[in-house]
Symmetry: C2
Subunit: 155 residues, 2 copies
């Protein structure tokens, strides 16, 4: 079998079950997602907001017609750094069946190039302190772990 | 002299010089901001984008008619956490002349309450690893330093 090319594109509404499946199939994600058929309406409501906001891009990696990776790219106007645009990456996942094949790296590089073309001066992300493999993955892509990421739950 | 009440409100265009002055008056900020009169146009362009986006709130603390604190509150729709809204805080500053008076804490609490009312499930931020005072400040407000914050410069 020859290896199929991986395609990167903006997600559509029909991709949402595959995206949520990947978010849920993870040590941390399994505690907070709800992958059911049909999906809870809250996922679709969030998708509509993302889809209508030009500063948000929900991206998927597709191979052979199947969605096997995702990330959420956000562009943020900012006063700091002389008003330069920032890009932020959230919710990065590659289907567990297809990890360690370089798909996550290609997905990130495609998204970083998109951020560069849009004029962002930085790409930022946070990753849980326990995700040591993720730290190495992002370091290989050139990211520096210069910051502490802090969260406060409001619920 | 009785202490004047501190007022919190959305920033207007006329507040921009005071905001940039505070961003620049800082070990890290002094290397990347340009506080001149008039301000570089790039600051005003970023302000217009923020001002027109209902998911962005540039907030100032004002006392006795003077802007003495600022932060940038961002609301982000997200697929993860079952489509719940996130809030993110960026570019927090209190005028050096008025630090250690509780103004930063009040500004954060006012903003956190605003995020709660909007329905955000979490407030997130990153702070440079060298800003140890900031880490303690956010921990006192209930934030947990659970994540590594990573950045990649695109320039």
């Amino acid at each position: 079998m020859t290896s199929q090319a991986v395609l990167f594109r903006l997600a559509g509404r029909a991709d949402l079950p595959a995206i949520v499946r990947m978010l849920a199939d993870d040590d941390l994600g399994s505690q907070r997602e709800c992958y059911e058929d049909p999906l809870p309406e809250s996922y679709y409501s969030a998708f509509e907001q993302i889809d209508h906001d030009p500063n948000h891009e929900l991206i998927v990696a597709e191979r052979n017609g199947e969605v096997i990776g995702t990330l959420h790219l956000i562009f943020m106007p900012s006063i700091s750094f002389q008003g330069e645009l920032r890009a932020q990456v959230e919710s990065v996942r590659v289907d567990k069946r297809f990890q360690s094949q370089g798909i996550g790296g290609e997905l990130m590089k495609w998204s970083m190039e998109r951020a560069r073309q849009r004029g962002a001066h930085v790409v930022q992300l946070t990753t849980h302190k326990t995700r040591l493999d993720a730290h190495r993955f992002y370091e290989r892509l050139g990211f520096k772990g210069s910051h502490l990421g802090m969260k406060l739950s409001l619920k």
